[in-house]
């Protein structure tokens, strides 16, 4: 079986080429449209992935990807804001 410069076989090289690591995973909280949200972003391969969760109860409701962290977050935040506008508050009395 052919071996590359590292000595790995072609199938091992192929396996590695399809595997990446999540890099730069980060999360932060901020208000948006009157609600607390959590923004999680990481890079895998050439793309950045962003998901937006409501802090309470912690459900993901918007996500996006982009070539940069800023692009992924900006797209996800745009969706998140749009969805949040549909959430109504009711009197509990």
């Amino acid at each position: 079986m052919a071996r590359g410069p590292s000595g790995a076989t072609s199938s091992a090289r192929l396996w590695r080429s399809r595997n990446v690591r999540a890099e730069g995973y980060a999360k932060r909280r901020q208000p948006l449209g009157g609600w607390e949200i959590e923004i999680e972003t990481y890079q895998a391969g050439e793309l950045f992935y962003c998901t937006i969760n409501n802090v309470d109860p912690g459900a993901r409701y918007a996500r996006a990807e982009g070539a940069t962290r800023e692009e992924a977050e900006s797209r996800a935040l745009e969706k998140a804001e749009r969805y949040l506008k549909q959430t109504r508050r009711f009197s509990t009395g």
């Binding site: 999540a22 890099e23 391969g45 918007a62 949040l84």
Partner: protein, 275 residues
């Protein structure tokens, strides 16, 4: 650590063991394709872990087919993990236990912790040799149906645990912020106690210690000496609480009410308590 929980290190070491199958089940059904634990199978809760015609859990035959094509037989160790602190991993766990699978576990910390630790991800779906799986008839003692909940509420014979957020419990909102409203009325089942699911977890997605969990429920009078029914909106958050009560704390009589608020909050004439 309880034998139904495994650490991320354990998964990293055993993911390729012949008798172990790692399965990712996410709220976000696109997350698996962004990258998953190498060798892990992905299950879609919206199509593969339910009856898509009738509102019900996965039918027995469909489960057998799903497990068979996932390379799982009755002796396989199944390790589930997913996003949102294992919400739908717990949902899959609950159904697998209903159908009698012996060795099923959850990866503590789920997808969040795997990502946060910069672990390896793959975008490849594994090619698996199909196996034959034979499920038991569903064990309905793990599941609460509407009449069970009506009786529990009216006669106070079981503790009702509402695991939704406080704002859903009080009726301030009808669904988690940003998600579509799926009920006609807000509030909670009369007599239910509010113990949000998130209180079971640490910030990194792992479960809290047994002592912390025991205290969390004991402070609300839930000590495992009486039947317990957990519910949320569609039954997945409450399956996580069911997992904690039944399998981490070892309480015997715990049911998950998967009809949850999308059933009760739409039911004509059902009593609702607010706040």
């Amino acid at each position: 650590m309880a034998d139904v929980l495994v650490t991320i290190d354990w998964v990293a070491q055993h993911a390729k063991d012949g008798n172990v199958r790692i399965v990712e089940v996410d709220v976000d059904t696109a997350a698996y394709d962004q990258g998953h634990i190498p060798g892990a199978v992905g299950w879609n809760w919206t199509t593969e872990l339910c009856d898509t015609l009738v509102r019900d859990i996965i039918p027995q035959k469909k489960l057998e087919e799903l497990l068979g094509r996932s390379g799982i037989d009755n002796n396989t160790t199944i390790v589930l993990y997913g996003d949102n602190n294992n919400w739908f991993a717990a949902w899959a766990f609950w159904q697998l236990k209903m159908y009698g699978h012996k060795d099923v576990r959850i990866m503590d910390g789920g997808r969040k912790k795997w990502l946060a630790e910069s672990r390896e991800l793959s975008t490849e779906k594994p090619t698996l040799a199909a196996k034959t799986y034979k499920a038991s008839a569903p064990d309905v003692s793990l599941r609460a149906f509407l009449p069970d909940v009506q009786q529990a509420s009216a006669q106070k014979k079981a503790a009702l645990v509402d695991v939704r957020s406080p704002a859903e419990f009080t009726g301030e909102i009808l669904a988690p912020p940003g998600l579509p409203e799926t009920c006609q009325r807000g509030g909670h089942i009369p007599g239910a106690k509010s113990i949000p699911w998130g209180k079971n977890c640490n910030d990194d997605g792992t479960f809290k210690s047994m002592d912390e969990l025991k205290k969390l429920y004991a402070d609300q009078g839930i000590k495992g000496d009486a039947p317990i029914i957990a519910y949320c909106r569609i039954g997945e958050r409450s399956s996580l609480t069911w997992f904690v009560l039944k399998h981490l704390l070892g309480y015997q009589n715990v049911k998950n009410y998967d009809g949850s608020w999308t059933e009760w909050g739409n039911l004509v004439g059902a009593p609702v308590e607010k706040p």
